[in-house]
Every structure is written in C-alpha cells, then in structure tokens.
C-alpha cells in the first residue's frame, strides 16, 4: 500500500515538473542578443528582401571542427563553419551569382598593369568584440599569413609569387595609405589576385599581435579555447562548442551590414550546427524535423528526400557542382628509388599515345555511368572545368560520346589486334592489353564507377580490372609511390572556381598533375603549351582575352586527356520553407553563404 502511494507521488511530481520545462519562448521578434552601438558610418546596404528578427536555424555539421583559428583552418568542415559565418575577407563572394562583392571595402581598384591593387575599407566597422577595424588589422593579418615561422599555416603558399636567387619566397608588398586604405604591390601582374585575397580572413591586431610576437599564436583559438577569444568580422560569433555534439553561433552585435530599411543585420539570432557523422542519421533527423536544412544530398539520396517535399519542405536540385571525377592513365616515364621503371615500358608507350587515351575515352559510356553509379544524378564531363563554373566554362572542347566501334577502330589504327582470338587486343609484341584501375574503397560510387568502366573497356578488348584500395594506400600511390596504372578519383573544386584554383593540377610542374607530376621541364609539346597558356591567363589583365586563353587550355586538355574526365555529379539541398532569403548555390556553403540575410517568416 505504501509503495503504491510513493509511486503515485513520484509520478505526480515528475508530471508537474515536466509541464514547466521551458523558460523562454523560441522566437520573440526582437533581436536576441541585441545589437550594440551605432550603425557603422559606411554600413553595407544589402539588396535583399527585408525580414524580421529572431529565431534560429539548425544545420548539420559532418565532423567536429579541428580549430577555431581561421589562419590554420584547412579541412573542409572547419572552413565550412568559420568562413562566411564567423570570419570575412576584404571582399565577399556571392555564391549564387558567382561573382565578387566589395563586402568590407567600399571599392577596390586595379592599376592598368595589374600589379597594384588598392582596397578602400568601410569606415565605422567594428570587430565582434567592439574594437574598431581599420587598415592596421589588414596589415597585421597579411604579415601573419606570410610569416614563414608559422608551420601550421598554408595561406602563404597562395600568396607566394616565386622564389628569388637565394630561394627566399617573394610575396606582394603591402602598404598602408591611410587608416582605411591599403595597397598591395605585386612583382608580376595577377588578374586573379582577388582569389588570393579571398583566402586572407581578417584577424584582429589588438587581440593577437602580442601573442604572435611572442611566438604563441599557434596555441590560440584551439577547439578548447574560450569562445570569446574568437573575434571576427562575420555576421555571427562563436557562442559555444560542445565536443561531438554541436557548435552554436550567435549574432555578432557589431556586424556592419544593414538592410534597405536601415535595420541592422543579421536577422536570425543563432545558427546551431548539430554534429552528426552518419548520413542516415542526418536524413532521419531532417525527416523528424530536428534539422532545418540538408545542404548535401548525394545522388543516391536525392529521390528519397525529394519525396518529402511539401508546403513545409522545399527540395532544390542545384545541378552540376564544381567537383570533378576522372580516370587517369599513368604517363610517368620516371623510375623508383631502385631504378625500376614506374610503369611497364609497353604500357607506358600506350598511355603516352594520345590516340590510345582518346580511344579509351570513346569506349566509356558516360551516360550509362551516370545512370547506374549516380542513379541519374550526374552528367557527362569532358574537361576539368564543369558547367557550374559559369564564368570560365567553355563548351568548345572535344567531346567523346559513347562510341565503342570508333574506339575499336582507333585501337586498330595504333596496331592493336586480337591475334589469338581470346577477345582481348594484343600489341605487336604479343602483350595482352590490359591494366588495373585503382580507386578508394570507402567511396561506394567510385567503386561502382571503376567496375562499370572496367566492363566498358572489356567490351572493346581491353582487359581492365578494377581494384579498390583503402584511401591511405591510394593517396600514397598517387603522391609518393607513383606506381599505379590507372586511377579513378576526383577533385573538390575551390571557391571561387577559376584558373587560380586549378594551377596545381594543370601545370606540368604541379604535384597534383597526377598523370606525370613534378616535371622539371614539360615532357610534351602540349604540356609546354598548357604551361605557357596558364602563365598568360594569370598575367593578362583583359578579361575577354583571359577567357579566350582559358578556353584554349580546356580545348587542349580535352584533346590530350591528361585526365579522362568522366562525369560531374549533381547535388541538391533541402530546407524548411519558413526561411526567407534562402538562395541555394552549388558552391559551399550552399545555403548560408548569405546567412546575414536569412530570416524566419
């Protein structure tokens, strides 16, 4: 009897307590945290549709951030979190329209010879801790970025213009014109200098100069640091990070943009990133309403999520991305440390033969590949630039529509015949033509693609086999060992897409020119021509001329096939319709590149 009474009392207590579990309502219509101080004198006026204050957006984050120090942020999850949201550069980038936006500057100027870049900063801008922002901060950030003693920073490699006679790096010079203007002087013209500037995320001098001078900057703003230390110029600032669970960004009360009615931005109070690694979990969370957006819908998941579309959920097909997928045949005539050739001589001869590579390209059924491995969510790709790069993509390239008969004919023209009737071609010395295609085993779509392509090649008489390898091993054989025959892999496109971001794959001297990396001098005429064209693209100032030159680069690439480009994947995003001013883009961050303009209707 007593036990029953106790149990009843306990349940009543729990029920009573459960009723009063909330302290504050979720949205209130007033900005919380509120803005501090006056609007900046030169506040940026956004052309977006005006919205209301309050509320929060819950997004997904695929891995814990590795640091909160933006100077050292390299991996994609950390940069997706910090770039655009917490930190900004001298200029902004509009992901949807793929063009630069003056952002922190009122304007910027280039000298006619392309060697002097002047940036005029807005007046009255304050850091997220309230201190004023001016040219001194820009100069400090630049010196930090080009400091050779900072082992963990990679920004200086982007600014380096070359090396002098003593092998010392040459960087552009920076000078302060006045409190709100800086000028960069380059040693050679660079029309894409903004692409380098777009990696220079501003860091406050008043906070970090001393630590940097004492050599302690590398220990600052780690993941266990105090959130108040992470001071930036973005629309949000770090509020809280709980390891493995979530990162919360709250409004930066000093942010320097206003809307067309003069109200300060951002509208939303908080961005909450929930850390979840398994894609199924993320999908389930979105379905249950625990996540407000899904910014990455892979090929195999798009159909499922599209079925959820309703008046509350919108699913958008953002089309082709700037990421590429390719097959590379090893053209490296070098030897390993024991003097043995990396590739067998008769195979190397074939791989270095342009007709052979073109025939292989004709033999691959790209539409079929898109429909099987990518369940229709991909389109054929014939060059290293995808149609998503609206500024630079050129359609005047050689294309390889699926044509196995033409492939067989081309193989016959280079002397490959099936002499012994086994269904596979042999060369004049009797070697059966075949090779191994490696790809990384942890990516299901790549494994399927490799198997599919091997089948395509078998059908035209090439004995190709697909051998998936663990990612570590793959990277080792592409970078160090270089003993592969064919690899199937892909590149993630940089933001913004363009010539400056492809130098490390196109140039013959580049380490990611996988078919034959790190060449001292170009080994073929077409590689020499590519190097020459890329140099011209970089140093020419006239945009129309640059586009023409870059189009020629793409044409040569598609004819010579250092990478046999296969498909580019289409991606999608999904979001709740309660958000206004969402402008999905294929460049990351896909939905929150304009986070300051998003509001809840």
């Amino acid at each position: 009897m007593r036990k029953i009474i106790v149990a009843a009392l306990m349940s009543a207590m729990i029920a009573a307590a459960a009723c009063n579990t909330r302290t504050t309502p979720i949205t209130s219509g007033q900005p919380n945290p509120p803005f501090i101080g006056e609007k900046p004198q030169d506040a940026y006026v956004s052309k977006c549709e005006p919205g209301n204050y309050g509320g929060e957006m819950i997004l997904e984050l695929f891995a814990d951030p590795t640091t909160f120090n933006v100077t050292f942020a390299v991996d994609e999850h950390t940069t997706n979190l910090l770039w655009y949201h917490v930190h900004r550069c001298l200029v902004d980038y509009n992901n949807a329209d793929t063009e630069y936006d003056p952002g922190l500057c009122t304007k910027y100027e280039v000298s006619p010879d392309g060697k002097e870049w002047t940036f005029y900063l807005r007046k009255g801008v304050r850091w997220s801790d309230g201190e004023p922002f001016n040219a001194d901060d820009v100069i400090f950030t630049y010196h930090l970025a080009t400091d050779e003693k900072l082992a963990d920073s990679s920004i200086r490699d982007i600014f380096r213009e070359g090396r002098d006679a003593n092998n010392q790096s040459i960087y552009p010079q920076i000078e302060k014109i006045d409190d709100h203007s800086v000028r960069f002087r380059l040693s050679k013209p660079n029309a894409d200098f903004l692409d380098a500037i777009f990696n220079l995320y501003m860091v406050p001098k008043h906070k970090w100069e001393k630590a940097w001078k004492d050599g302690k900057f590398s220990e600052q703003m780690t993941v266990s640091a105090n959130p108040a230390d992470v001071v930036g110029l973005g629309p949000f600032r770090l509020k809280e990070y709980t390891a493995g669970e979530r990162v919360v960004l709250e409004r930066n009360p000093h942010f320097w943009k206003v809307d067309s009615r003069g109200n300060r931005l951002p509208y939303i109070d908080r961005l909450k990133f929930i850390i979840a690694k398994d894609f199924n979990t993320i999908q389930a969370k979105f379905q249950a309403g625990e996540l407000d957006v899904m910014s990455r819908l892979r090929a195999t998941d798009f159909a499922n999520i599209k079925a959820m579309e309703s008046d509350k959920i919108k699913v958008v097909d953002i089309g082709a991305t700037v990421d590429t997928r390719w097959l590379i045949l090893n053209q490296n005539p070098g030897t390993d440390s024991q003097g043995k050739l990396l590739v067998e001589p008769w195979k190397l001869k074939l791989f270095r033969n342009q007709k052979f590579r073109q025939a292989v390209s004709y033999a691959i059924n790209r539409e079929g590949l898109a429909n099987t491995a990518f369940v229709g969510r991909a389109e054929p790709l014939y060059s290293f630039v995808t149609p998503a790069d609206k500024t630079w993509y050129s359609d005047d390239i050689q294309k390889y529509p699926f044509n196995p008969d033409l492939a067989r004919q081309m193989f016959a023209e280079i002397g490959l015949k099936d002499t012994n009737g086994d269904g596979f071609l042999e060369d004049a010395e009797g070697h059966t033509i075949g090779f191994v295609i490696n790809t990384n085993s942890n990516n299901e779509m790549r494994v399927q693609s490799a198997a599919f392509i091997a089948e395509n090649l078998k059908a035209v008489g090439i004995k190709a086999t697909s051998v998936p390898l663990p990612a570590n091993v793959m990277i080792e054989i592409i970078t160090t060992k270089l003993t592969f025959e064919a690899v199937l892999f892909g590149w993630v496109g940089g933001v913004p897409p363009g010539p400056s971001n492809v130098k490390n794959t196109v140039l013959s001297s580049a380490e990611q020119h996988v078919c034959y990396p790190n060449q001292k001098t170009p080994s073929t005429e077409w590689e020499a021509r590519l190097d020459e064209l890329m140099h011209k693209v970089e140093t020419t100032v006239d945009m129309a001329e640059r586009k023409r030159l870059y189009a020629e680069v793409q044409r040569i690439w598609s004819e010579q096939l250092p990478e046999i480009n296969l498909v580019c994947e289409k991606e999608g995003v999904a979001y709740k319709t309660k958000f206004g001013n969402i402008r999905p883009a294929s460049l990351r961050p896909r939905l929150t590149w304009n986070a300051e303009e998003i509001y809840i209707k």
Partner: protein
C-alpha cells in the same frame, strides 16, 4: 589482499607498454599518415604537408624511433596534442568520457537490472509462457546485428517521433529548466541504451537462467523446502546468492568494457562519446589521440578485471585472494 592488489596493479605497467608498442607499430607500418586526409584540399600545397611531417616526426618510418617520441613524454605525463585538433588529448578525451559513461552506464543498469529478475523468473517457471517470452528476447538480442538494430531504432524514432533521432540533447536545451534538462537527457538516452543493453541482457539472462536451474536442483534447496520455507524466501535468499557467482565475474568484465564497447551505437545515434572519437582518430591516423585512448582503455580493463576478482572474493567466502 594487499599484496594481491599491488601485484595486479604493477602487472598493468608492462601490459601497457606492450600494448602501446604494438599499437604504435601498426600505426607506423600501415600505409599513409594523418596528412593524407588533406590531399586534394584546394589551397594545400606539398610544401605545407612536408612542414607538417617534420613537425610531427612523421618523416621517419622507424618504429622504435616513433615509439620513443611518444613514450618518453608519456612517461612524464605529457601525452601530447592531437594532430587534428591541436588540443591536448586529455582535454578532448575527458569531455567525451562522461558521455560514454552515461550511455554505457544506462545500458548496464538496463541489461543487469532486467537480466537477473527475468533469468530468475524464466528458471522458476521453466517452460511456461514467461520462459518462452524470455527465450525469445534472448535469441532476438543475441542474433540482431547492432548496426541494424541502431538504424532500425533511428527510423522508428524518425517515423513515430516518440523518441528523438539520436544526439545527447535537444536543440532547445538552453531554454529548459533543470528538471526539463534531466528529462530531456533521459529521453535521449532511452533508445541508445536499449540498443546497447539488449545484447548484454540476452547473454546475462540466459546465464542467470541456467545457473538458477542448476542451483534449484541442488540438495540444500530440497532441504529448505522440506523445512517449510516459503518459495520466495528460497529463491531470493538462498538460490540466487549461490547462482550469481559466475555472473559477478561477468559484471566485473562489463565494468571493464564500459568505455570500450559503444562505437557503433554512438556513431549511428550521433552520441558524442569516446567511441566515435577513437574511431575517427584511428581512421585519420591521429596518433597521439589513439595512443592516449589505448593507454586509458588498457588501464580500464585491468581495473575492471581487478574489481571482478575482488567482488568475487567478497561474495564467495570459499575464494581467497593471494
């Protein structure tokens, strides 16, 4: 007892050295390094990767050398900084340990709390409907793969919205009162603890049942019945304490694996625990983190085994520890 304890604790030291050496050798000998994950990232150059290699002593492939670079600072208590996070490994691990302990602790309570009574009931009412239900639960728990079970529960949560879809707390945690927070935590704990505890429940229940059946057939039980003791007294005061012997050892092992066993469940439920941290560190070859985690797990297992032996000695007067 004291010499026994001392001997066991001292034995842990060579054990840790051997296990960490083997771990380090495998990390070194396996192809690739932590820097491979940066390959292909726009903006990262080979020069940067080379600088990082020299910084973290990754340029030598000599196992002994690499082990020494870890061992000597570790002896002084410095387990280093994670390659990936640049934060002290203990900072990273410490935050997660509590979360995992919560989850495995709840699973422990769930599995043991149900296993003992259900095992007893199944043994006492052998071949009755209660026994058949318990058998079904056992076979279910033993045969279902934990990945599948976790995913099933996630789908169940998403469809019915009766439970949250993974994670430790709700997005609106900040606005909850203290009571609300406790309830929110329990609500989130329910499904993962269920998944994790089911396997344990199945095993221990079967074990308890067979022990009870054997004990109940003993002579002293017949004597007790002849003397007129009530059924309830016989079962709970005489049979269970005797039957529970082997299970005490198992319980000690459960404690040992409190931190080690929850990887898959944590991953699928997005539970921010130690399992996902160690798994990620392994996949990314974040050597300082892996070594610190391995050291800690070895110590836990030694401690758990020790507790198991001590508990057994305490409960069973026939056993003497030397």
């Amino acid at each position: 007892m004291k010499t026994f304890l001392l001997r066991r604790i001292l034995f842990a030291i060579p054990l840790i050295i051997v296990v960490t050496f083997i771990t380090k050798s495998m990390l070194v000998l396996a192809p690739g390094s932590y820097l491979d994950s940066l390959y292909g990232t726009p903006g990262i150059t080979q020069e940067f990767i080379q600088r990082q290699k020299e910084l973290h002593h990754l340029d030598t492939e000599n196992v002994l050398e690499r082990y020494w670079y870890w061992f000597w600072p570790a002896m002084r208590g410095e387990f280093g900084y994670s390659f990936r996070y640049r934060a002290s490994v203990w900072d990273m691990i410490g935050g997660r340990v509590i979360n995992t302990l919560m989850l495995t602790g709840a699973a422990l309570i769930f599995s043991w709390g149900l296993a003992i009574p259900l095992g007893v009931v199944a043994a006492v009412r052998r071949n009755g409907w209660a026994d058949r239900v318990c058998s079904f639960i056992s076979f279910f728990g033993l045969s279902i793969p934990s990945v599948f079970f976790s995913l099933l529960m996630i789908m169940f949560a998403a469809k019915t919205r009766l439970f949250p879809v993974g994670s430790l707390r709700s997005a609106y945690w900040d606005e909850l009162t203290a009571w609300g927070r406790l309830l929110d935590l329990l609500w989130h704990l329910a499904l993962p603890a269920l998944v994790l505890g089911t396997i344990g429940l199945a095993q221990y229940m079967r074990q308890m049942r067979s022990e009870m059946i054997e004990t109940l057939s003993q002579d002293f039980i017949r004597t007790a019945r002849a003397k007129g003791l009530s059924q309830r007294r016989i079962i709970w005061r005489h049979a269970v304490p005797n039957a529970i012997n082997p299970l005490v050892t198992l319980f000690g092992f459960s404690l040992a694996f409190l931190l080690a066993g929850a990887l898959i469940t944590e991953y699928v439920f997005a539970w921010p625990g130690l399992g996902t941290l160690v798994y990620e560190s392994l996949v990314n070859k974040d050597e300082p983190m892996v070594m610190a985690a391995v050291t800690m797990l070895v110590m836990m297992i030694v401690a758990g085994n020790l507790i198991a032996d001590v508990l057994l000695a305490l409960i069973d007067p026939r056993i003497r520890l030397e």
